[in-house]
Amino acid sequence: MSGDREAFGQIMERYAGSARRLCRAILRDSEDADDAAQDAFLSAWVKLGQYDPRRPLGPWLMRIVANAAKDRRRRREVRRTDELSESMPSSQAGPDRETDRRLLEAELQDALEELPVRYRAAVVLYDVEGYSHAEIAKIIGVPEGTVRSDVFHARRMLRQAMDDWKENWK
């Protein structure tokens, strides 16, 4: 049992960053995102017996993470519909916002908020986490062709934001 716990701790250390980023992309609120990621890891711990070790762990785990984030998002939307504009944490936008990197992050953050949630999940899983279209299709539960299209559209919109930033600040 303690061995399982230790092994699971190592799994979490490896995947915590990816899970938390995906939850942030879907939920746009760091506290909600971490709560969802925590729910996901607890759920994965309980379901560990169902995991087929012949398959890669990442997509299995990220599917649980995506579902936890989507569940939380649904519950949150039921709870409050008027606070969506208050998105990523203010702690992320500190006093050094004037630096180039922070500006780009803010620009990208705004652009992410404009994207439908499925686009956000798809592009983050593809371009940040490096999953394939087929893996993402299984993770978020849509056809592979839809993932390709989502990544394409998301990239185009985010690229536009990056180009705007380059034009204005570089």
Partner: protein, 108 residues
């Protein structure tokens, strides 16, 4: 790993969504696991049994009901089978006269 990752965009997004240090997060989740490690597993196991057990029980009940509802045939009677008469073989023992061999003798 996908081959045509947009690395520049990926890196910028990674920075944008970066949650910072994961150690506190991992400790928090492990602490939750320590406080309630196995309770959900018990319910998972129970529900997995129920998923298989309930349909099996329904099928067994339906099969039993079907078998009970079948019309019953009376058990074969040895006397009826051998003699074919209503008084059966008992007359062989109670009759004062010898048995009538006519039906057998007259059979072609």
């Amino acid at each position: 790993m996908n081959q045509d990752q947009d690395k520049e965009l990926g890196l910028a997004l990674k920075r944008t969504l970066d949650p910072g240090d994961n150690r506190v997060f991992v400790s928090r989740v492990l602490a939750r696991i320590d406080t309630a490690p196995m309770a959900p597993l018990f319910w998972d196991l129970l529900s997995s049994w129920a998923r298989r057990g309930i349909p099996a029980a329904v099928m067994i009940a339906a099969l039993t009901a079907f078998l009970l509802a079948l019309p019953r045939q009376p058990a074969a009677n040895l006397e009826d089978t051998l003699v074919g008469g209503t008084d059966g073989g008992a007359s062989l023992f109670t009759s004062p006269g010898p048995p009538d061999a006519g039906p057998i003798a007259n059979t072609p």
